[in-house]
């Protein structure tokens, strides 16, 4: 019996070359594995491990100690292991109206913000793609430019703009449009302004990438076949840029749901968002297990739409093969 390699090799020289080639292939595979190990290790150490830590804490009870929660595994004498898993924290989240309402409020704010970002971002991305080469680069630069300033600073700037004695109110009063300042700061309006302002670039960029790839001749074809501009948009442009819409929406929706800084600074005590509740549980109440449960529940809330997206995208790729 000869191995396939030997069977194919006609001379000894040939055999050597073949074996050498196989070894090289093996080495190449090694390299590929090695390169892939680095990001996977990173994710394992800095994402998955902390996740399990938080999950573990969410299944513990609060005690006055350091750390302020009961350990999961205890060694009762003579090698008997005692595992303590408490799901009370989750039950508590469900039973207390505060948490349910806060989650709902967060979801509402992030949903509305995502829709606003989409309504604002889509025309902007479209305009950027349709503009000429030089203008295009300037406009893209302008979209990215705010990232060069600290996010916190930019939110503080809104504080100055929206306050009762802020720039906008002063201006409106000076122009004689209003007599009394309009209350904008510490309202839902201010939170929406902050979130939309902060997250609209995350909507524009994936949409831009998607629209840039769009074959504009398809729009001409649609017009040629009798589609008015609106019909062309809804039957051709939008369906073909849907991956961009979904990617952009997730990039806005997910961080907006857990947003802490914006509701805290611009919403004051009037806007309920889960990020703030989490912060309070952790710092003011020093209730790490409940805070952890809040975080895990939020994660589940956000992972579900992500999985849905993955599923849709998987199907999409399948149908294009």
């Amino acid at each position: 019996m000869s191995t396939p390699v030997e069977a194919l090799a006609t001379t000894e020289e040939d055999l050597k070359t073949r074996i050498l080639y196989r070894l090289m292939r093996l080495a190449q595979d090694r390299w590929r594995t090695l390169i892939l190990i680095i990001p996977f290790t990173w994710l394992l150490v800095f994402f998955l491990a902390p996740f399990f830590l938080v999950l573990k804490i969410s299944l513990a009870e609060t005690i006055i100690a350091s750390p302020p929660f009961t350990p999961m595994i205890e060694w009762v004498d003579e090698g008997i292991m005692h595992v303590r898993v408490v799901v009370d924290n989750y039950a508590y989240l469900w039973e207390d109206d505060l948490y349910v309402n806060t989650y709902l409020s967060s979801l509402k704010i992030s949903t509305v913000s995502t829709i606003l970002c989409l309504l604002l971002g889509y025309p902007m991305a479209y305009a950027i793609v349709r503009s000429n080469h030089t203008t295009k680069h300037i406009l893209l630069m302008l979209i990215i430019l705010p990232f060069w300033t600290s996010f916190l600073l930019r939110v503080y700037a809104w504080l100055g703009l929206l306050a009762d004695q802020g720039t906008i109110n002063d201006l409106l009063i000076a122009l004689g449009i209003i007599d009394e300042p309009i209350r904008m700061l510490y309202t839902h309006f201010a939170v929406y302004v902050g979130i939309v302002y902060t997250y609209v670039p995350f909507m524009i960029l994936p949409l831009y990438a998607n629209l840039e790839k769009l074959d504009w001749e398809l729009l001409e074809a649609a017009a040629d076949l009798g589609a008015k501009p609106m019909a062309t948009f809804f039957t051709v442009t939008l369906p073909l840029t849907l991956p961009g819409v979904i990617a952009g929406s997730l990039l806005v929706f997910i961080p907006a749901t857990g947003e802490y800084v914006i509701p805290d600074l611009l919403g004051g005590g009037n806007v309920l968002m889960i990020g703030r509740v989490l912060y309070n549980e952790f710092n003011a109440n020093v209730d790490w297990p409940v805070a952890s449960a809040v975080a895990i529940a939020l994660l589940l809330l956000l992972v579900l739409p992500m999985m849905l997206y993955q599923h849709i995208q998987g199907k999409e790729t399948e149908s294009h093969e």
């Binding site: 001749e217 001409e220 074809a221 649609a222 040629d224 076949l225 009798g226 051709v236 149908s319 294009h320």
Partner: protein, 381 residues
Amino acid sequence: MSKTPDYSERPWLDPEAEPFIKVQSVSKHFGDFTAVDSVDLDIYKGELFSLLGGSGCGKTTLLRMLAGFEKPSSGSILIDGVNMNDVPPYERPVNMMFQSYALFPHMTVEKNVGYGLRRDGVAASEIEQRVEEMLTLVELGQFAKRKPHQLSGGQKQRVALARSLIKHPKVLLLDEPLGALDKRLREQTQYELMNLQERLGVTFVVVTHDQEEAMTLSTRIAIMDTGRFMQIGTPTEIYEFPTSRLVANFIGNANMFEGRIVENGTDHVVVESKDPSCNFYIDHGMSIAEGTKVWVALRPEKIKIAKQANGDTGTNSIKGMVSDIGYLGGTSTYRVLIDDDRIVEITSPNLSRPKDGNPPIDWDQEVFLSWEPSSSVVLTK
């Protein structure tokens, strides 16, 4: 006794006929660049009209103006008597088949084909029926549920054709319709297009850079260069009676001789050429002054090549030496050197088989070229 001539095949000759498409001194500028330069054109109902020219000659811009994707900078376009200048593409009685086919990638074949009808709000049952008819016509019935990326190039092309024909447009615009197909499929599709055009009676306007395609398909051809028409005519007119050197060279090959009119009779003209030294006797009169500088175009297949002199050399005959032979099976192309500095190309059918392995005319052989008085064309520009 007088019989009215039958213009049904050649409506452009009928003085009474009203053109279906009227292009009236239309120009299109893009910045400093003039793509279309004040052109006039009449296209009649049922024609298969080709716009032929190299890239950048303005043919595609003109087609896009007919479709409504570009607005003329000046002049006007009338289709069926209606000025189209301010009519958007989606309201024009015109459909276009794109060079890239521009099929909607997210729709199935039947959705693509039915798209135009859905936009017009045609009843679902009627759409279904008409899509089915159309797909049967282009022989794609079994591909109705496929997406464009699952089709071959030829199938995509037929979907594009079906989609552009389903609304029964008055005019169908085709942008390089056969460009992306291989040779065998091109020929097949060419005849399919001609059959369809005849059956449906639609006016076709075709843009192409391929002269063979234009010659086979068209009722008439417009040769375009730098935004202007060089000549408009039937394929035969364009080939046999070119009006300029540019057209003569663009369509097929032509041997070009520079000379002067030395004799201008009522029924003939004589052109004297110095390089090579030869007289051209042409059997029709021309309104042209003696001494005018002209060019004589002579098609390669209109020259006879022989080993012996046929009559006197000097008029419609010339002596040379074979410098190159291209054997193409049915025909051979000879490159004949004249006066050691001038190459004349001749295409000749291979009427007999070579005897004893020797071709009838061999390399480096002295040959005599001759042509009929009606064969050469006198060009003034």
